[in-house]
C-alpha cells in the first residue's frame, strides 16, 4: 500500500514536474495437466519524477520510497532535463495549466482470499475439465491479477490517487484429431479483484463446456479460402479492430510520426453507421474495464470521440501533443510501472452498438465467415492490420456451417471501415490483454458485431 496524499513534496519542485509514487502487485498461478507449474507473486514499487524544460524532458526513478529518494529523483530528473535543454535549445512555451484531481480506490470490501483459496478454486476448474473431457490431450488453467496503485502530484497542482485492479482466469484446452493438435483458449474476468468477480468455480463450467464444443468443431473444421470475404466480426474482433487497427493510428504521437490518419481529420473514414470512442472511465452509464479519472500527467481524463458517424473527429492527446495541435489534452498519458514515463495510450476503446440483430447479419451472407476470437493483432501506420483468428465458422446461405481452422485476416482499416454495412445492437468488452508500445499496459476494448469485407488467409 502506498500513501494516498503526497502533497508534502510540493515545495521540492523548481520546474514543471510530475511526481508519482506507484506500486504494481501481480499474482500468477498456472496449473498444467493438474500440476502447479507457476505459483508466483510480485510487488514492484517506487518513486519517479518527470521534469519538462522548454521542449525536452528529464526522468528519473528509484525503488526506495522515502523523503530522501523523492528529493534525489526530482533532482536527477531536473538535471536530465537541463542537460538536454542545454544541448537542444528548443525554447518551447510552457504547457497551458491543466489541473486534475481524483481519488478512486477500487479495492474490494470483501475479505481477501488467500493464495491457497485461489489455488483450490483453479484446481476445481482443472478437476472438472479433466473428469468431463478425458479426450483432451492437455489442459491449462491460469490465474492472473494486477493491481496498479498510484499517487500523483504535479507542480501545477494536480493531485490524484487510484487503485485499479484486474483479475483474469484463462483456460486453454488441447485436442488431437488425426494426429494434428488443436487448441482453444478463453479468458474470464476483467476489472476488479478476485472476490468481486469470481464467486464459485461452477459458474465457469457452462462457459468451459461451450469452449470445448467450439474446440471439438474446430478440430473437425476446414481451412479458410484465401481472398476477400464477406465476414461478421464478433465483439472480440470489433474490439481489437477498434484498438489495433484504428486506435493506434489516431494516437497523436503516432500521428506526428507519419500515421496515415494525419491527413484524414474531419474526413469520412468509415461507414456513417460507425462511431468509435476511447472512453476515460464510464461508457453508456457503466464503468469501463480500465477506468482512468486523472492521467499520469495530471490531466482530468475525458472521453475522446475518435470517429463520429464515420467522420474522423479527433486524436488522443497528452499535454505536449495537445499543445502542438492547439487542442485540449484528453487524459491519455499513462505509465505502466513507477519506472516508466507517461506516454499516449488508449484506455477503453470501443465501437458503439448499432441497430441490427446478429442473426439477421449472419442471415444476410451467402458465402462468408463468422469470426469470433482473435489470438493476437498488429497494425501499421498505414492502418493495414493483421489479426490471428482462432475461433470462427463458415457462413453458407445465411447459416453457420463448418468451424474453421486457425487463420489470419488482414486489411487496410480506413478502407475496410467503409465496407461495414451492419452493426449489432449489443456489445461486449474485453480487457484480457496487454497493449505493447514502448511499455506494456492493460487496456479495455469492445464493440458490437460488424458486417464487413476483409482479406482472409488460407490455403
Amino acid at each position: 500500500m502506498i500513501e494516498k496524499d503526497i502533497s508534502k513534496y510540493n515545495n521540492l519542485f523548481s520546474e514543471y514536474t510530475e511526481l508519482r509514487i506507484q506500486e504494481n502487485r501481480n499474482c500468477a498461478i498456472s496449473i498444467v495437466n493438474g500440476d502447479i507449474m507457476g505459483n508466483n507473486r510480485s510487488s514492484e514499487s517506487g518513486v519517479s519524477a518527470r521534469v519538462y524544460k522548454k521542449g525536452v524532458w528529464g526522468f528519473s526513478s528509484n525503488p526506495t520510497i522515502a523523503d530522501e529518494t523523492v528529493k534525489t529523483v526530482i533532482k536527477a530528473a531536473t538535471e536530465n532535463a537541463l542537460y538536454l535543454n542545454d544541448r537542444e535549445r528548443k525554447n518551447k512555451e510552457p504547457f497551458p495549466i491543466s489541473i486534475g484531481t481524483a481519488e478512486k480506490d477500487f479495492k474490494t470490501n470483501q475479505k481477501r482470499k488467500t493464495q491457497k483459496d485461489m489455488i483450490e478454486f483453479l484446481r476445481e476448474i482443472d478437476g472438472y475439465i479433466e473428469k468431463k473431457y478425458p479426450d483432451l490431450t492437455a489442459r491449462t488453467t491460469v490465474y492472473r491479477s494486477l493491481e496498479m496503485e498510484k499517487a500523483l502530484l504535479t507542480s501545477e497542482g494536480s493531485q490524484a490517487y487510484s487503485m485499479v485492479p484486474r483479475t483474469l482466469i484463462y483456460t486453454s484446452l488441447n485436442l488431437a484429431k488425426d494426429g494434428q493438435p488443436f487448441e482453444l483458449y478463453e479468458i474470464f474476468g476483467g476489472f476488479g479483484q478476485f472476490e468481486n468477480i469470481f464467486s464459485k468455480p461452477e459458474d465457469l463450467f457452462e462457459k468451459i463446456n461451450t469452449q470445448y464444443e467450439h474446440l471439438k468443431k474446430k478440430s473437425e473444421g476446414v481451412y479458410t479460402k484465401a481472398g476477400i470475404a464477406d465476414c461478421i466480426f464478433g465483439p472480440d474482433l470489433a474490439g481489437i479492430l477498434a484498438h489495433e487497427a484504428i486506435g493506434h493510428t489516431v494516437e497523436a504521437d503516432i500521428v506526428l510520426s507519419g500515421s496515415i490518419a494525419a491527413d484524414y481529420l474531419n474526413k469520412q473514414v468509415a461507414s456513417p453507421i460507425i462511431t468509435m470512442v476511447d472512453f476515460a472511465h464510464t461508457a453508456m452509464g457503466e464503468p469501463c474495464p480500465i477506468p482512468v479519472f486523472v492521467d499520469d500527467e495530471g490531466t482530468q481524463a475525458e472521453d475522446a470521440v475518435l470517429i463520429e458517424n464515420g467522420i474522423l473527429k479527433t486524436f488522443m492527446q497528452n499535454k505536449e501533443s495537445a499543445q502542438h495541435f492547439g487542442v485540449k489534452p484528453t487524459g491519455n498519458a499513462r505509465a505502466y510501472a513507477y519506472s516508466d514515463e507517461p506516454i499516449i495510450r488508449m484506455r477503453n476503446t470501443a465501437i458503439i452498438p448499432g441497430k441490427d440483430k446478429l442473426e439477421d447479419m449472419i442471415a444476410s451472407i451467402d458465402d462468408g465467415y463468422y469470426l469470433m476470437k482473435s489470438s493476437n493483432g498488429e497494425a501499421d501506420s498505414t492502418s493495414e492490420f493483421m489479426f490471428g483468428i482462432v475461433k470462427g465458422y463458415e457462413i453458407k446461405n445465411g447459416k453457420l456451417g463448418n468451424a474453421i481452422k486457425d487463420t489470419t485476416i488482414s486489411g487496410v482499416a480506413f478502407n475496410m471501415l467503409k465496407t461495414i454495412t451492419m452493426v449489432s445492437d449489443d456489445m461486449a468488452w474485453s480487457c484480457g490483454g496487454m497493449c505493447g508500445k514502448k511499455q506494456y499496459i492493460p487496456v479495455g476494448m469492445g464493440g458490437p458485431a460488424l458486417k464487413c469485407k476483409v482479406n482472409i488467409g488460407g490455403k
Binding site: D35, W57, A76, N174, L256, S257, S374, D406, T407
Partner: protein
C-alpha cells in the same frame, strides 16, 4: 548495512529457518541511462535504478516464487514469510528442485559506466544523418540506452554466481511519407558493448532506412501461388522465435510440441545449424547463468538439420524426463550457408523477399499465416518492387525442411546473428 552477498545469504538462511528445505535467492540491480528521440526530435533523458529480489522456496516438493524490489530488512522478512506461505499453499511436485552445487564464479562483460556524452553525440548525429540522407523517412522513436546489470544468485546447495554486464542498446522505428502516401513502419536495432561507430552502420539500420523510402509506393502481389520466399535476417528472428517456442517447458510439458519425440532426429534441411551461444564473445547481449542457478554454456540446438537439444529448464527436464538444456535459450546464431544473397535472388523466377512478418501465433501443428510487411516482389531473378496487402501461409515444420539456400552474408545484431534463408512451398497471395 549488509553487503549484497550478505543480503542474499540472509534471504536463504531465513527461508531455511522458516521451514524451506531448499531455497534460492536472485538479486539484480539495473542502472539505466536512456536517451529518446520522438517524432524525429531529441526529447527525453531517463536515469533509472531498479532492484529485483527473487526468492524461491521448496517445502515437501511444494514451490513458491516471490519477487520484490526492496532490500530493507523489514521488506525481506515479510517477503520470506510470504514465499513460505506460497510454497505451503501449493501442491507437491517432485520436479521442483534447485541447482546442484557448482564452483563459485564471478563473470564480467562490457564497460562499467555509460558515456552519456557519446550516447548523446551518436544519437544526435544519427538524427541529422537520417534527416539529410532519407528526407522522406521520419523517425517515430529512437532510443539509445546503456544498462549496467549486477546479479548475484545463491542457493542452499551452495550455488554462488555473480555476473556484471554493461551494454549499449539501440532501437529505431520509422515510417516514410510522401504527400498522402505512407509506407509501413519498420524497425531495427542492435546491442553492443561500445558505441564506436555511427549508429546507422550497425546491424540492418541503414539498409532498412533506405528500403523504407522505397516502400511508400507499393503494388499488389500478382495473383496467388505456391513458391519461393527469401526470409531476411530481420524477419528470420520472428521465425526462429516461433520454432524455438516448441522446445521450451510449456510446449513439452503440455505435450503440444510438434518436436516432443524428435530429439536427435532430423527436423530441418541439413543446411540449417542453429546455435544458442550466451557465452560467445560475438554476443553483446549475453548471459552467464540461468535463472534456475546453472552456469550457462553454449550449445547447438539444431545441427545440420538434426534436433540436438530442447530448451528445457531443470523443472521442465524433471517433469518430462527429457534432458535439461545447458542454457536458457536465446543468443541465437544461424550458421552461414554457401550461396551469395544475389545468387539466391537470381535463382527465383517469381517469389517474395520477406522483410517483416505480421502473423497470427502459429497453431500447435505449426501452421502459420500472416501479412508480408515491408516486402518485395522477386521477378525473373530480380527484386522488382515493394508489395502491399500480401499474405503468406505455410507450416513451420515443413518450412525448415524446405530450405533451398542459406546466404553467406549475415547480420550481427549483438543479440543474434542471422543470414538470409530461401525456402520453397510457401503460399503467397496478393489482394
Amino acid at each position: 548495512m549488509k553487503s549484497d552477498r550478505e543480503l542474499v545469504k540472509y534471504c536463504i538462511d531465513r527461508m531455511l529457518t522458516k521451514g524451506a528445505e531448499k531455497a534460492q535467492c536472485y538479486l539484480k540491480y539495473n542502472k539505466k541511462h536512456e536517451l529518446n528521440v520522438d517524432a524525429g526530435e531529441m526529447k527525453l533523458l531517463r536515469t533509472t535504478f531498479d532492484t529485483s529480489i527473487l526468492l524461491k522456496a521448496i517445502i515437501n516438493d511444494q514451490k513458491g516464487d516471490l519477487k520484490i524490489n526492496k532490500k530493507d530488512e523489514g521488506s525481506i522478512d515479510r517477503a520470506v514469510d510470504q514465499v513460505i506461505e506460497l510454497a505451503q499453499s501449493s501442491l507437491p511436485d517432485k520436479a521442483n528442485d534447485i541447482a546442484d552445487k557448482q564452483p563459485p564464479k564471478e563473470f564480467t562483460s562490457g564497460r562499467e559506466k555509460a558515456d552519456l556524452d557519446v550516447m548523446y553525440d551518436r544519437l544526435h548525429d544519427f538524427v541529422l544523418y537520417e534527416k539529410e540522407r532519407y528526407p522522406k523517412t521520419m523517425i517515430d522513436q529512437a532510443i539509445v540506452d546503456f544498462t549496467q546489470s549486477n546479479i548475484l544468485i545463491q542457493n542452499s546447495n551452495g550455488v554462488d554466481f555473480a555476473g556484471n554486464r554493461g551494454m549499449y542498446s539501440f532501437s529505431v522505428t520509422f515510417t516514410s511519407k510522401e504527400r498522402e502516401k505512407v509506407s509501413s513502419f519498420n524497425y531495427s536495432g542492435f546491442s553492443s558493448k561500445e558505441l564506436d561507430k555511427p549508429l546507422h552502420e550497425y546491424a540492418s539500420v541503414d539498409m532498412l532506412l533506405k528500403q523504407s523510402g522505397e516502400q511508400i509506393h507499393t503494388s499488389a502481389f500478382p495473383g496467388k501461388m505456391v513458391g519461393d520466399v527469401i526470409i531476411t535476417p530481420d524477419c528470420l528472428s520472428s521465425f526462429i522465435e516461433y520454432i524455438t517456442m516448441y522446445l521450451y517447458d510449456y510446449s513439452l510439458i503440455s505435450g503440444s510440441s510438434i518436436y516432443k519425440d524428435k530429439l536427435n532426429e532430423k527436423i530441418a534441411n541439413e543446411s540449417l545449424t542453429l546455435h544458442s551461444y550466451p557465452r560467445s564473445p560475438e554476443i553483446a547481449k549475453n548471459y552467464f547463468f540461468t535463472r534456475d542457478g546453472f552456469e550457462a554454456q553454449n550449445m547447438t540446438v539444431i545441427d545440420k538439420g538434426v534436433l540436438k537439444s530442447f530448451l528445457l529448464s531443470q523443472y521442465g527436464a524433471n517433469k518430462t524426463g527429457k534432458p535439461k538444456a545447458v542454457n536458457s535459450g536465446g543468443c541465437y546464431i544461424v550458421e552461414p550457408g554457401t550461396s551469395d544473397f544475389e545468387k539466391m535472388v537470381s535463382s527465383i523466377d517469381k517469389g517474395l523477399l520477406l522483410c517483416r512478418f505480421a502473423g497470427g501465433n502459429p497453431s500447435d501443428n505449426g501452421d502459420f499465416s500472416g501479412v508480408a510487411k515491408n516486402s518485395y516482389l522477386i521477378e525473373n531473378g530480380k527484386i522488382t518492387k515493394p508489395v502491399n496487402e500480401t499474405m503468406i501461409a505455410g507450416n513451420l515444420a515443413e518450412m525448415i525442411n524446405n530450405i533451398v539456400n542459406i546466404s553467406k552474408e549475415r547480420i550481427d545484431y549483438g543479440s543474434e546473428i542471422y543470414p538470409w534463408i530461401q525456402v520453397k512451398g510457401i503460399t503467397i497471395s496478393g489482394k
